[in-house]
């Protein structure tokens, strides 16, 4: 089921030129920024240090989680543990009910996307507002994030103006200041009336019992300053041992994500407000979520848990840059998504996502914590094959290919036959279907159709006598 859906989504994305332009522009901007700031210090040495810090933390995850939970409680906060998505959702529902919550302001949380939290709270009659501008836009559009850093980068300003105009009940111009002001005014009301703030968690500090939220807009600060209840959802691997460890990981995260030396805001919250404080949450709940992470521990993919969610591997990936985030089918996209999705959702059904990569290794080269993503993609592919899905027809096709390719006369004959025989299977200049054994191969790929003349024929006779040919395109 996942496979067919992924193919449809990839096809859709490849056909959407506006989407592809937007994705290229955004990823180029992120990459350009990163390139400017990684020379601040010995980047390779820092990558190694960050890798070692993440590896150490995950290897001692039980110890640091215990320390974190104890500190949060000492600070007056509550700690909850969820084995899976449904437990996490249920915990948040009960927290909301306990505090009589009517309205929720959310700052960005990928894990809340994993567990489909908003839908459940809304079904309980609670208003839920995303407050990151990009998340707000896609919430209005009823879509999901397409990039971990720029969730709405697939939306054009015209799309956004249309959404906001509908909201305001009047036509709005599509310039950035106009749209920003609408969001500021509307979300300001949300911050002031929300009973509960829900946040994600870039890092959690074991030593001080703190959660850390990195934002540029300041919505992370609003959500942790104004509502009377704060709930933070945390994937259990987000932890760092000491407060000063943040310096290195923040430096790597913001440089790799947006090319900033630091974001505008880094909020560190270690529980509810102190006696005498006039703002900040009165109640603080930390929900620590496993949701399949413990099944990755101890195995060949453990290092995938070292990820600090910067999105650099998305920006560099030649496949992501063509198809965008939605084609990956779940919360995480790009190379890290192609690894995490099968691990979290099941390799048998989702292993196919790992095919959405070229194994060029660029993702490993940019990863600030040196996760060997290309090796993992191969590993997922291997594990996917081992789940026993029949590739017999594919193997047959490759055998036939080898046979024909080793016999020039037969190759030329085959090409001619192919050109005549392809007609019923070609749509918009691309193969979408074919008889077996090609059908197996084309079930998850499309191929350009065979040209009127082969390269060998053009080479022999020259190209000038056929002006209708498309040239200079690839």
């Amino acid at each position: 089921m996942a496979k067919a859906a992924i193919l449809d989504r990839i096809d859709q994305a490849l056909g959407n030129e506006r989407l592809r332009r937007a994705v290229r522009k955004a990823t180029d901007t992120f990459r350009g920024g990163r390139a400017r700031v990684i020379s601040d210090f010995d980047w390779e040495a820092m990558r190694e240090k960050a890798r070692a810090l993440r590896a150490h933390t995950i290897e001692h995850l039980d110890y640091y989680l215990e320390q974190l939970a104890a500190r949060v409680r000492e600070n007056g906060g509550h700690v909850h543990f969820a084995e899976n998505a449904s437990q996490a959702v249920e915990i948040v529902r009960r927290i909301a009910a306990h505090h009589g919550v009517r309205s929720v302001a959310k700052s960005k949380s990928m894990i809340s996307e994993e567990i489909h939290l908003n839908e459940v709270l809304e079904a309980d009659g609670i208003e839920v507002y995303e407050t990151d501008l990009g998340e707000y836009i896609i919430q209005l559009a009823r879509e999901t994030p397409s990039h971990i850093i720029g969730p709405a980068l697939h939306k054009s300003r015209e799309d956004i103006a249309e959404l906001f105009s509908k909201l305001e009940g009047r036509p709005l111009s599509s310039d950035t200041p106009t749209l920003t002001q609408v969001a500021r005014r509307r979300l300001r009301e949300v911050f002031l009336k929300a009973d509960m703030g829900i946040t994600g968690c870039n890092f959690a500090v074991a030593e001080t019992g703190s959660i850390v939220i990195v934002t540029n807009e300041g919505n992370g600060r609003m959500v942790t300053s104004l509502p009377r209840v704060q709930v933070t959802l945390m994937g259990m691997e987000r932890i760092v041992p000491r407060l000063e460890d943040l310096d290195l990981l923040l430096a790597m995260l913001t440089r790799s994500a947006t090319g900033q030396r630091t974001t505008s805001y880094v909020s560190i919250v270690s529980g509810p407000r102190k006696e005498g404080e006039r703002d900040g949450p009165e109640a603080f709940h930390l929900v620590i979520v496993d949701n399949m992470r413990s099944s990755i521990l101890g195995g060949e993919f453990q290092e995938a848990l070292n990820c600090i969610r910067c999105g650099a591997c998305l920006n560099i990936c030649p496949v992501y840059r063509q198809i965008g985030g939605h084609a990956y089918g779940w919360v995480y996209s790009g190379p890290i998504g192609a690894v995490l999705t099968p691990l979290y959702k099941g390799i048998e059904e989702w292993g196919e996502v790992a095919q959405a990569s070229s194994l060029c290794g660029a993702c490993y080269d940019v990863c600030p914590v040196k996760i060997p993503l290309h090796d993992m993609l191969v590993g997922i592919r291997r594990a996917s094959v081992e789940t026993g899905k029949s590739k017999a027809l594919e193997r047959l096709a490759f055998r036939a290919f080898g046979f024909v390719m080793s016999r020039p006369g037969m190759y030329r004959a085959a090409l001619k036959i192919g050109r005549l025989a392809q007609a019923p299977f070609v749509r918009k200049g691309r193969f979408r279907a074919a008889p077996p054994p090609l059908s197996s191969w084309l079930s998850h790929r499309s191929l350009p159709s065979l040209p009127k003349r082969s390269f060998r024929e053009i080479w022999a006779k020259g190209i000038d006598d056929e002006p209708g040919d498309r040239r200079g395109t690839s």
């Binding site: 150490h56 600070n75 720029g150 919505n219």
Partner: protein, 238 residues
Amino acid sequence: MTHGEDLDFGGLTQEAFLARVRRGLGGKGPKSPHPGSLIRDQNVEENAAHSEKVHLFTLALEAVGGRALRASTLAEAYLVVARELAGAKAARVLLAGGDFRKLEEALAAAGVAFDRWSDLDFSHGAQDRALEKVNAWDAGISFADYAVAELGSIALLFDAGQGRSVSLVPPRYVSIVRRDALVLTRRAVLEHVSRRMREEGRRSLVFVTGPSRSADIEMDLSVGVHGPGELWAVLVDE
């Protein structure tokens, strides 16, 4: 509330949850030590002169669209703040933390009205109204607890005097940075605050670097989307 009461909200017990983690980790071989997380040599901190830190801070803050001002004394800093706010047509501002009598005099002389964070009515039920008032201020003003020269960051360690909303909700934040608050690295602040969180029970620290910004509309930079669109830092030599 104890952990036992936490269980009322569902989910696994801590013991059951950690047992799963330990089972997972069990198969893994020898464990690595904490590698340390220094970005650079610690003694760089001691070697930087105040003027050098001021220079670095100014460059870094201006690079992200913030505004750095300079004063040799606190008295001069207050005059600078009052003059610049009047020049920016600020009608009413909010002061939080510190002894601001001199600043209040300077503001009054410059024709800028002010309120004190400590005077706001935050009693139960009045909080919303108090915050709506915060919404109407032209600027929030407070002392920086720390400032990070290498990044141009202001660090605020919140308590009763240092309100979280003051530097966040108004469209402009003015931060007064005393000489001993300015350090070279973010790491130095984190080390210091780690101790203060554990010893003084401080609950929240924020690093603020320049104005609020977003690039969520076609990667086009816009400022002031949620937090202040303007950040001024007044660096004081005393």
